[in-house]
């Protein structure tokens, strides 16, 4: 078992060189206190000194933010110059000779410090920042010994604390008005929620128009809290628990940005999560989920003891691990004996680590002896895998996040980064503020269309379900107006396929004029947007689930790749095709061979050589035919031929479309094994419950949307006694295929051994480098920043014709509206984790957005109950009247189970991958005054399940 505390990987205090690194190839040599140092041109004197090991006292400067020069503590003397310039705002010059410590400087600094301290409470011993306060440290460093002004003059000591945020408090009496918080909110986060009001002595920090933080524009990213050098802005957890005494670097378990964090601990107690300045995906920034919403890990709802039961109407029985595993294995084997070896399967989770996902597919292909393994990525990004593999030869995004800083024109299609990928959205907004152009294609007016200091140049507000019509019209414009990059196409792409595609796309039926009746986007706008993108030096496309979760999801992904190839936007910084992944490890779970048709590294089962390689390593025979996908498993269950399912960390009963069909399928199975942190909706149908472990309780790796493999490190022992990979190995062993690893690093070694694109990956390398972007092997030992540089992964890029095929989910007289779905910033997926944290305060319930004109004709008012009915089912939600959606379109989120958003979504799916069409459902809406029949049933079932829990759960 995995509880060895000696293995904890710890790091010291975070470095702070005072100002951001300079990005220059030229270097400059200078001397600091007599020591010579060479630094890049554009470096500040403050940073150069810090690099030379000289700490110049400072308060308003911090490495993450541009220098401001307001505190006057970092004064230095420069030979041949008069006065005392501020080191943070003075850039180095060749041959400079700098003195950082002289009697005169010491005196000046003490004077400045004295002024600060005269207006600061002197209760250091009881202050929450005690031990982590830059004001305190700096007072010590400058040798402050007396404060001549007395403390009775005008001061701010009586200012009131704002404790409205659930996560941090704002105590203005401790504020030194260094404006680091303001700059963090502006520069890092891009929300511009804070201001310095007033001047001179009267100046103070305020959240938008002096509101409490909770009611202001603040999105609780925590950047200001990290930036604050005093206790003014402090995490409530630090106020409650005190200062952490150790830190472990790990990776956020929420979204596909994959931010690196310092988990700061006191013993086994997590005090706070602080974004890691050296994190390659986030560079010290974070969002509210990763920064603050980790409380679910210790929530009382956590189940920590394995449980079994004979049938789903019985009470659960708490048992030992040995009993639970033996019971699960015996039931699966009985099913296989009775219904055949292919009657069982497994679903792995994009929330679990690479190592955990890898062992699940290995167990299915060895112990189960079939290919019935799928992952929840099926329902989000499977079209990305199919589409990019077909056109480019690799199922992954092509860039790094940092690449956006070189983009001239950015297209965002069917993604809402400020809510779903907040840290990347902040970086994108930074680039937009520098002047990059933005084209948004989305049925809804997402926040990026207009946000502080940025606005989209075009918002192509298309009808849901018409993505392919739009992308074809964009490509048609590029071709018909002669805007393509002919050199790129000629040298990099398959000529024959290009000719076929060119003929297809040039047809009049794909023109913006012909398509505008379908998309609802004026042809002139489409043409202008296409010209903007094609004319950009660097054009980058970012897309999300609004592209994939359609009946033509795969077609759309290929359409995007076609457009990017035609304009030569591959193989360098600032360009590319970039899928924004939803869950943290969507990329990784796909990489690890979780699909029923392919082995790790996206190699098809029919590829004999690959199969043999695995067969030899695993000592089994692998079936060359694909197995069932998730929806096929459900259909087969209803038909009575698929009877056993092992589900790792997924809540299918809530997250998958057409809830009633899913429930019928789960109910038909003879053995459902659920492995999760909580008794989720799916567990209502389970016969075996295996308690999972949170990302804080195990070692492993996640792979983010940039193909970046980052370490997840154990900071506390697993509450249930077993990490998740150990559970899968135990089940496999009990089923007759022994699987033994001493540590997840051995699983990664096996992946590296069997997968060419991972050949150079190991835990030792990850420790050295911090993170690695695959492909990482002999040809690129340090990983791969940009894909397809000299040639595409498949050799020549393949243009694929993408005919627009209308979805079956179109509006008609019975269902005249189109419902589309999305998410909010504060909640995550089905909300199992975030609903169990104070993030709940930000998003109490799912609402249905409706345009005021649609609402009016139906007699629906803001906040009233609305019935939403599709051909699949009916649910009831509260209305929110808004012009963010167009007339004819409804929008909702799916974070709360009782909302039943998926009761109305249908089984319609992407033609190539069966990724469900979440983004379009034809519905009717009408005012109601009671919950739907489904919701009444839901309440009743929820109550029943609670009663079936063993009354005293040890653990």
């Amino acid at each position: 078992m995995n509880g060895n505390m000696d293995n904890f990987y710890q790091v010291g205090r975070e470095h702070d060189y005072g100002t951001p690194p300079a990005d220059s190839e030229n270097s400059v040599s200078l001397s600091i206190d007599g020591a010579r140092i060479t630094v890049p041109e554009g470096t500040s004197v403050l940073r150069a000194a810090a690099l030379a090991g000289r700490q110049i006292p400072k308060l308003c400067a911090v490495e993450d933010l541009s220098a401001f020069g307001s505190c006057r503590l970092c004064l230095v003397e420069i030979e041949g110059r008069s006065g005392y310039p501020a080191a943070c705002t003075t850039l180095v010059a060749e041959g400079m000779a700098i003195a950082t410590q002289t009697p005169r400087l010491a005196e000046l600094r003490r004077n400045v410090m004295e002024l600060y301290i005269s207006d600061h409470p002197l209760d250091c011993l009881t202050c929450p920042a005690n031990g982590d306060c830059e004001l305190q440290d700096t007072a010590g460093a400058v040798g402050l010994r007396e404060v001549r002004y007395g403390y009775q003059g005008a001061n701010h000591l009586a200012a009131e604390t704002d404790a409205s945020s659930p996560y941090f408090s704002f105590d203005p009496s401790r504020c030194i008005v260094c404006s680091r918080c303001v700059r963090a909110c502006d520069e890092q986060q891009g929300t511009f929620a804070l201001t310095v009001d007033g001047r001179g002595f009267d100046s103070k920090i305020a959240a938008s128009q002096d509101q409490p933080f909770l009611d202001s524009e603040c999105v609780s990213c925590g950047a200001c809290v990290k930036a604050c050098p005093t206790a003014t802005l402090t995490e409530k957890s630090v106020i409650e628990l005190g200062q952490p005494d150790r830190a472990v670097i790990t990776t956020c378990a929420y979204c596909g940005v994959g931010c690196s964090f310092r988990a700061e601990m006191q013993g086994d107690q997590l005090v706070r999560m602080v974004p890691n300045r050296d994190g390659h995906a986030n560079h010290g920034h974070s969002c509210v989920k990763g920064r603050f919403a980790f409380g679910y890990a210790n929530h009382p709802d956590r189940i920590t003891q394995p449980m079994i039961r004979e049938s789903i109407d019985q009470a659960w029985q708490a048992v030992s691990w040995e009993q639970a595993i033996a019971h699960a294995a015996a039931r699966l084997k009985t099913i296989q004996n009775h219904y055949g070896p292919k009657a069982v399967g497994a679903i792995s989770s994009s929330r679990c680590t690479n190592e955990e996902v890898y062992v699940v597919q290995k167990m299915v292909r060895t112990a189960f002896g079939n290919n019935n393994v799928d992952t929840c990525a099926r329902v989000c990004h499977s079209p990305t895998g199919y589409g990019l593999k077909t056109t480019l030869g690799q199922s992954s995004g092509t860039q790094t996040f940092d690449s956006v800083m070189a983009a001239d024109v950015i297209i965002v299609i069917g993604a809402n980064p400020t809510s779903a990928h907040p840290v990347f959205a902040s970086q994108m907004k930074r680039r937009l503020r520098q002047g990059a152009k933005l084209i948004v294609a989305d049925p809804r007016r997402i926040d990026l269309v207009e946000s502080p200091h940025t606005r989209a140049d075009f918002h192509l507000q298309l009808q849901p379900g018409t993505n392919v019509a739009l992308i074809n019209a964009l490509s048609h414009t590029v071709i018909s107006e002669g805007l393509e990059d002919t050199d790129f196409v000629a040298s990099r792409c398959d000529t024959e396929a290009y000719r076929t595609w060119r003929e297809f796309i040039s047809a009049e039926r794909n023109s913006p004029e012909a398509m505008q009746g379908i998309t609802g986007v004026p042809a002139e706008q489409v043409r202008a947007a296409a010209r903007l993108y094609a004319g950009a030096g660097n054009g980058a496309i970012y897309y999300g689930l609004g592209v994939t979760e359609h009946s033509q999801g795969s077609t759309m992904v290929m359409g995007i790749a076609n457009l990017a190839m035609a304009t030569g936007n591959f193989g360098r910084a600032g360009v590319g095709v970039n899928p924004l992944r939803g869950q943290n490890n969507v990329q990784g779970s796909c990489d690890m061979g979780s699909f029923p048709h392919e082995l790790p590294g996206y190699r098809h089962l029919s590829d004999r050589q690959t199969r043999q390689q695995f067969e030899q390593d695993w000592q089994v025979v692998i079936d060359p035919q694909p197995g069932y996908r998730i929806p096929n498993m459900f259909d087969a269950a209803i038909n009575g031929e698929f009877m056993g399912l092992y589900i790792q960390g997924e809540d299918l009963a809530q997250s998958d479309p057409d809830t009633q069909h899913v429930h019928a399928a789960l109910g038909a199975m003879e053995c459902v094994i659920v492995q999760d942190l909580f008794l989720n909706e799916t567990a209502k149908f389970a016969h075996v419950f295996l308690p999972g472990s949170s990302f804080l309780e195990k070692d492993g790796t996640y792979t983010n949307a940039e193909r970046r493999i980052s370490p997840v490190r154990q900071v506390m022992p697993p509450l249930s006694g077993m990490a998740e990979w150990e559970i899968t190995c135990a089940l496999s062993t009990a089923m007759g295929y022994p699987m033994h690893y001493a540590h997840p690093s051995q699983i990664m070694d096996e992946v590296a051994r069997l997968t060419p694109s991972f050949a150079g990956v190991s835990y030792a390398r990850l420790e050295q480098q911090g993170s690695l972007q695959w492909p990482c092997n002999e040809t690129s030992p340090n990983g791969t920043t940009f894909m397809h540089v000299d040639e595409f992964a498949r050799g020549k890029g393949l243009f694929v014709p993408t005919p627009y095929v209308e979805t079956d989910e179109r509006s008609n007289s019975r269902y005249p509206l189109l419902l589309t779905t999305g998410r909010v910033l504060s909640q995550y997926n089905v909300g199992a984790q975030t609903r169990r944290t104070p993030n709940q305060q930000y998003h109490v319930e799912d609402r249905i957005e409706i345009h005021p004109s649609d609402a009016e004709v139906r007699g629906i008012t803001d906040g009233s109950w609305v019935g939403v009915k599709s051909r699949a089912g009916e649910t009831v939600l509260r209305a929110e009247l808004t012009e963010r959606v167009q007339p004819g379109v409804l929008y909702t989120t799916f974070h709360h189970p009782q909302s039943g958003a998926n009761v109305v979504t249908t089984e319609n799916s992407d033609w190539a991958t069966n990724c469900p069409e979440y983004k379009v459902t034809a519905v009717q809406a009408y005012p109601v005054n009671q919950p739907s029949a489904w919701q009444a049933l839901f309440q009743q079932q929820a109550k029943q399940q609670e009663e079936l829990l063993p009354s005293v759960l040890p653990g």
Partner: protein, 72 residues
């Protein structure tokens, strides 16, 4: 009996429609067959083939051709 044949038919026709950028039915059929062979569980392919042998008139011409090329 295997999985719901109406669903399989619908899925197969959806694949066919998305491959139908050319009028050449032979090209479309071979693309459809290749897709089904690569991604469908053999039980689903067999069910579709069995259905096609009795009701071929109900399938689109390209799909009818494709079914003959299934590897089950």
């Amino acid at each position: 009996m295997t999985v719901n044949i109406d669903k399989l038919r619908k899925m197969a026709e959806q694949i066919t429609a998305n491959m139908a950028y050319t009028d050449d039915q032979t090209v479309v059929a071979s693309k459809v067959a290749d897709h089904l062979n690569r991604f469908w569980d053999p039980r689903m392919k067999a069910a579709l083939r069995d259905y096609a042998s009795a009701h071929s008139a109900e399938l689109s011409p390209a799909l009818r051709k494709a079914v003959m090329q299934l590897d089950v």
